[in-house]
């Protein structure tokens, strides 16, 4: 009997496992419904935060979380199609915490009259990311990814409409005239007027929408190859079947025809996910879309899809890497090198901050792929290296997300104060006018460069040491040489990246306030509620700065969590087929007792 049918049965336990996600979806629906009756948008942010807190409560209260047994750590503990283990748990927490940052960094007045919808869709994105983290089935994975994509289209569009729509003051519901708004006229260089901004947002949304559809279809096509080869949608079953087929045929080359097509499926999946990761070859949209939308949405776009893409890629790679041979790491290594170099070199020439950070996001997608290439590489356990490829990529993702979100939150804060900050020069003198923001921003930039002792350094250490470990292990020289090239490319790119990261940090500290004064003449938008909104972005900035610094100084708990997660996801299918059988069986009780078929 094929276990995959059993696995799909949904029980009460499944719902219990998915309570955090369900709470978020429910809160989103309530927000959107209630938004129609609410006057003003003042309550949206606290309500969204409340929903996130509730989800965190559910996540913390899950029975599995308190049970660090060996079985739990193997990620084989599952309820229906939902995986429960160190990998899904850590990443769900990450998604939830990042969700808090998204909500905090939304500028006041974003979404205009549709503010409730804005926050509702944000919650949907968070919930989608969390679903992806725990999905153990191809269909479920795809659903989760779409639950991120579709709300993102809405947010991309809403981001800019808020600026042209009249903002309602909570004082008495008096609409503020639109001529009063920053950017109300086109006289300021580099700042689009409301109409233009809305048009840019439309353009960004349309670009993102069509490319997203294309990438989704590629992803689905890739999934179909896996289904064709293994005859199942269930990931552990796919892994088990592929390992069995390859083993019985005595190698990938002599496997059944459909199994030999798995590398092609892998290529399609990676290409499809490259869109989410903003990695070459699907990176083209990033600069235009980031530039066209607002700071807050660009921050969301730089983090949420990338996190989801990484989670899915790791999950699938862990399962099918026995059937991909050398092809997988070769593809990933080439993508990594090209993405890093392209992103970093292009970022050097940018004047627009969001465009620059978009290229930075492409470059960091390349870094993440180093970890995946190492994990698929000739030596899986990397010669006793301190941290394996998956774990390094997970840790790197955490470091990257905090620094990038923090940077965008800083931009939101500064834009709220000085008018739309779009160009690098407009950051001049921030060190004097907003020292805490400037210090945090410098921390983010240095962390993204990989300067110790900040979070980004440990991320780079993990990734590069993985590549060096493969390169200096006893694999055949051609493989080792590839990984050496990968490591060198990663290291050199850190130095190239320093060029523009330092420019951003340097402008804040080295230049006197020049352009900021031009921004000062704008009256803060939205009266005193705008002050409150700015302070939440400020809180997000400083909190992210503190986290990046403290992860850098005390990396042990975070590194260990990443290592546990990486080991959990990569456990079993490749080495110990015996475990897969148990994994495939639905375990429908909290105490881990297998249900008899």
């Amino acid at each position: 009997m094929n276990p995959s049918y059993d696995v799909l049965t949904v029980s009460g336990r499944t719902v219990q496992q998915l309570l955090p996600e369900a709470a978020l979806v429910l809160a989103a629906v309530l927000l959107m419904l209630g938004g129609a009756f609410m006057k003003g948008a003042a309550l949206c942010r606290p309500l969204a935060l409340l929903a996130l807190a509730l989800a965190a409560l559910f996540l913390a209260g899950q029975p599995a979380a308190a049970d660090p047994t060996a079985q739990f750590a193997r990620e084989s503990w599952r309820v229906g199609p939902v995986f429960v283990g160190d990998y899904s748990l850590l990443l769900r927490w990450v998604a939830l915490v990042l969700g808090g940052f998204y909500v905090l960094m939304v500028p006041p007045g974003a979404g205009g009259l549709l503010a409730a919808e804005y926050f509702g869709t944000l919650l949907l994105v968070v919930s989608g990311t969390m679903l992806v983290c725990s999905a153990g089935d191809l269909v479920f994975l795809f659903l989760g990814l779409e639950l991120i994509s579709i709300p993102t289209y809405v947010i991309l569009y809403l981001a800019r409409t808020g600026e042209s729509a009249p903002v309602v003051d909570d004082g008495g519901g008096v609409p503020v005239d639109s001529w009063y708004m920053p950017g109300g006229s086109d006289e300021r260089p580099g700042s689009p007027g409301p109409v233009k901004a809305a048009r840019w947002a439309e353009e960004a949304t349309v670009k993102y929408f069509f490319l997203s559809l294309l990438s989704s279809s590629l992803l689905l096509y890739g999934f179909s190859f896996l289904y064709g080869a293994a005859g199942s949608m269930d990931l552990p079953t796919i892994g088990e079947t592929l390992v069995a087929q390859v083993r019985s045929a005595g190698g990938l080359a002599s496997s059944p025809m459909l199994t030999r097509l798995v590398p092609l499926g892998f290529l399609l999946i990676v290409t499809g996910l490259a869109f989410k990761l903003a990695a070459v070859p699907f990176h083209f949209y990033a600069p235009d879309v980031y530039q066209g939308t607002s700071h807050a949405s660009a921050g969301l776009l730089a983090v949420a899809p990338k996190l989801a893409g990484l989670v899915v890629l790791i999950r699938i790679t862990a399962v099918i890497r026995p059937a991909t041979g050398d092809f997988a790491w070769q593809v990933l290594a080439v993508m990594a090198i090209v993405s890093m170099t392209w992103g970093n070199v292009m970022a050097l020439w940018q004047r627009e901050i969001r465009r620059m950070l978009a290229y930075s996001s492409i470059a960091h997608a390349g870094y993440l792929l180093i970890g995946l290439a190492v994990a698929c590489g000739p030596v899986v356990e990397a010669g006793g290296g301190p941290i394996d490829g998956f774990s390094a990529a997970i840790f790197y993702m955490i470091a990257y997300s905090l620094a990038t979100l923090g940077a965008f939150a800083a931009l939101v804060h500064l834009s709220g104060r000085d008018g739309d900050v779009r160009l690098v020069e407009q950051l001049a003198g921030v060190a004097k006018s907003a020292p805490a923001v400037a210090l945090s921003f410098a921390v983010f930039m240095l962390s993204l460069t990989g300067i110790p002792p900040l979070a980004g350094f440990w991320g780079k250490l993990g990734l590069l040491s993985g590549a060096v470990a493969v390169a200096s292990s006893e694999v055949e020289p051609s493989g080792a040489r590839w990984f050496l090239v990968l490591a060198i490319a990663g290291a050199v790119n850190a130095a190239i990246g320093a060029g523009y990261y330092l420019r951003l940090a340097g402008v804040m500290f080295f230049r006197p306030t020049a352009v900021c004064e031009a921004g000062q003449r704008h009256v803060p938008q939205g009266g005193h509620r705008a002050q409150a909104g700015r302070s939440t972005a400020w809180v997000a900035t400083v909190a992210a700065g503190f986290l990046v610094l403290s992860i850098g100084v005390v990396p042990a708990p975070f590194l260990q969590a990443a290592v546990r997660a990486g080991q959990a996801v990569s456990r079993a299918p490749r080495e110990r087929p015996a475990d897969i059988v148990t994994a495939g069986m639905p375990i429908d009780a909290v105490d881990g007792r297998a249900r008899q078929p």
Binding site: G383, G384, G385, P386, I387, K432, P435, L446, T449, I451, P452, P453, F457, W458, L461, L464, S465, V468, A469, A471, S472, S473, E474, A487, I488, A491, V492, A494, A495, A498, G499, L502, R503, G506, F509, F510, R511, P555, A556, P557, L559, Q560, V563
Partner: protein
């Protein structure tokens, strides 16, 4: 003592936080906090140096887990002192006091941040010379860039943005390759010795066994990777272009620390890793690196002769002097390495002092152009005295510290060139060493000429300065900043053994091991006509050491 070492390294950080909070806009609070913190650190460092027992053991060693992970696998916070780092550790704590004192009145803009960055830089410097974990070393190595980047970029002169940027990116570009090289060392060790460790003590001890070392080709690549970072930091000849810019644009305190200590991080790393762990590759690369060092000596000195800017001249003289340090280290024998290490300290003292003097001159006349001033000895006799003293020390006048260092390292270099090189390179090495001696003449020329033009001859002061009457000689604070350095110049000149003896334990063991490996690798590679005067090059002659061969490896707790 372990605890004292930790407190010494971390105290500046606490001072930095305090300086930032108290002195955000209150200059006196900021500078007094910085002064008290740096003096306390100096006292603690002196105490540690006073109790240092010498020998090869790592002193005051302690280790805490950092990155976590199973058992010993993982990065650890390991601090300890040995002969190679001990004086650089002391020098950093001393020069920071100087740096605080010379900035006393010249820094008015955001004083809290300035002194906080200085103190953060001190933690980085103290850490880099005490780190006993390879990743921790790298963390401090790279971390020193950050405060200096902001110091140069925020308080520097006209071209400070570009200078800060160029300094950071140059150094980072080299050090990321160094990072890869260090990782390869660790993983090679894990592969051959079976246990994964980041401990420098363990790595040094295990790599003492030739069987554990890498094959020559890989070793050469790793050598070059490490060399990339260290050579830029030193800076060796073609990689020096960031240095004049950074030095000239940096505020005085930045220049003092940059020249005084930061450049030595490069030579220190070279000594620790390239010589200590990759001796066979050192044998292969020796003629090349030696050539670069000597070209740097001559080129730096030559360029000095044409400089119009006092600070720029001293910056180029650093290129020349660091060439001597590398020459000594590259001799790979006891005398050369001891001399090179002594010269690192000497250069830190004298060039740190020179930069401080130039800063004081700049505070008075707001010019660094040589042509703008002249005959100042009459107006500023105390400054002229200190400047002349440091200049003479930097030239290498017998009786002052520069002579002791240069003499010892040249002895080592001659010993290498005349007794133990393969025949193919013998001529090259001899020509290089002789040319290096010629560099001393150039050094005397440009330095004395500088002093003559600035301090002697008819009095000439910048026209833009309205009331020259107000310009007075050095204040008590300024004398206090320079006097300790001046005392050391004379002290080390008269009794170099005070510095040499504590260092010799560690240095001799590095020299002996590397020297033996170099000789063996040359013999093994079948160099025809390899000549070796028996007994001298292998056991070496030690000026300060006990003279007996030390075969036992350095070991920690």
């Amino acid at each position: 003592m372990e605890r004292v070492l930790w407190i010494t390294v971390l105290l500046p950080l606490a001072g930095a936080v305090l300086a930032m909070l108290l002195g955000w806009s209150n200059a006196p609070a900021a500078r007094w906090t910085a002064l008290v913190a740096s003096l306390t650190v100096l006292l603690l460092a002196t105490w540690i140096l006073g109790t240092y027992p010498g020998g090869e053991m790592v002193f005051a060693f302690s280790s805490l887990p950092w990155s976590g992970g199973p058992a010993d696998v993982g990065v650890r916070l390991s601090l300890g002192l040995d002969g190679a780092g001990i004086w650089l550790f002391g020098l950093s704590s001393l020069l920071l006091v100087t740096a605080v004192l010379v900035s006393w009145e010249s820094i008015a803009d955001r004083p809290g941040l300035f002194y906080a960055l200085l103190l953060i830089l001190e933690t980085g410097l103290l850490g880099v010379f005490t780190a006993q974990d390879i990743i921790l070393f790298y963390v401090f190595f790279e971390f020193t860039l950050v405060p200096l980047f902001f110091l140069i970029g925020m308080w520097g002169s006209e071209e400070r943005h570009w200078a800060a940027m160029k300094f950071f990116i140059f150094t980072l570009a080299g050090s990321v390759l160094t990072f890869l090289g260090l990782l390869v060392l660790v993983f090679w060790h894990a592969r051959t010795c079976g246990n994964m460790t980041f401990s420098m003590i363990q790595l040094t001890a295990d790599f003492a066994d030739p069987a554990a070392r890498m094959p020559l080709a890989l070793q050469t690549w790793v050598f070059l990777a490490l060399f990339a970072g260290f050579a830029i930091k030193v800076p060796l000849f073609p990689f020096h272009t960031w240095l004049p810019l950074a030095h000239v644009q940096a505020p005085t305190a930045g220049s003092v620390l940059l020249a005084g200590v930061l450049l030595k991080v490069g030579t220190y790393g070279f000594l620790r890793f390239n010589l200590g762990m990759l001796p066979e590759a050192t044998a292969v690369c020796m003629p090349w690196v030696l050539s670069l060092a000597v070209v740097g000596i001559l080129y730096g000195a030559w360029v000095c002769l044409g400089q119009q800017d006092i600070k720029r001249l001293i910056a180029y003289s650093s290129v020349s002097h660091l060439g001597y340090c590398m020459l000594g280290l590259l001799a790979v024998n006891r005398l050369g390495i001891q001399g090179g290490s002594l010269q690192m300290i000497n250069h830190g003292i004298s060039t740190g002092g020179l930069f401080a003097c130039v800063g004081m001159l700049y505070d008075r006349y707001h010019t660094r152009r040589i042509a703008d001033v002249g005959g100042l000895a009459r107006r500023l006799p105390r400054l002229a005295f200190f400047m002349l003293l440091f200049a003479l020390s930097s030239i290498g006048l017998p009786g002052l510290n520069g002579f002791a260092g240069e003499f010892v390292l040249l002895l080592g270099a001659f010993e290498r060139a005349w007794t133990a090189v393969p025949a193919d390179w013998m001529l090259l090495c001899r020509v290089l060493v002789v040319a290096a001696v010629g560099g001393i003449v150039l050094g005397a020329w440009y330095m004395l000429w500088l002093v003559q033009r600035v301090f002697f001859g008819p009095l000439r002061e910048p026209l833009s300065q309205q009331d020259h009457a107000r310009i007075g000689d050095l204040s008590l604070r300024e004398v206090a900043a320079l006097a300790p350095l001046a005392v050391l110049v004379v002290w080390i000149g008269l009794m170099p053994s005070t510095v040499l003896v504590p260092m010799s334990g560690t240095l001799d063991s590095i020299a002996d091991r590397a020297g033996a490996a170099v000789a063996e690798s040359w013999q093994r590679s079948g160099e025809v006509g390899f000549r070796q005067v028996a007994g001298i090059s292998r056991d070496g002659v030690s000026l300060a050491g006990t003279g007996e061969r030390r075969d036992d490896v350095m070991s920690g707790k």
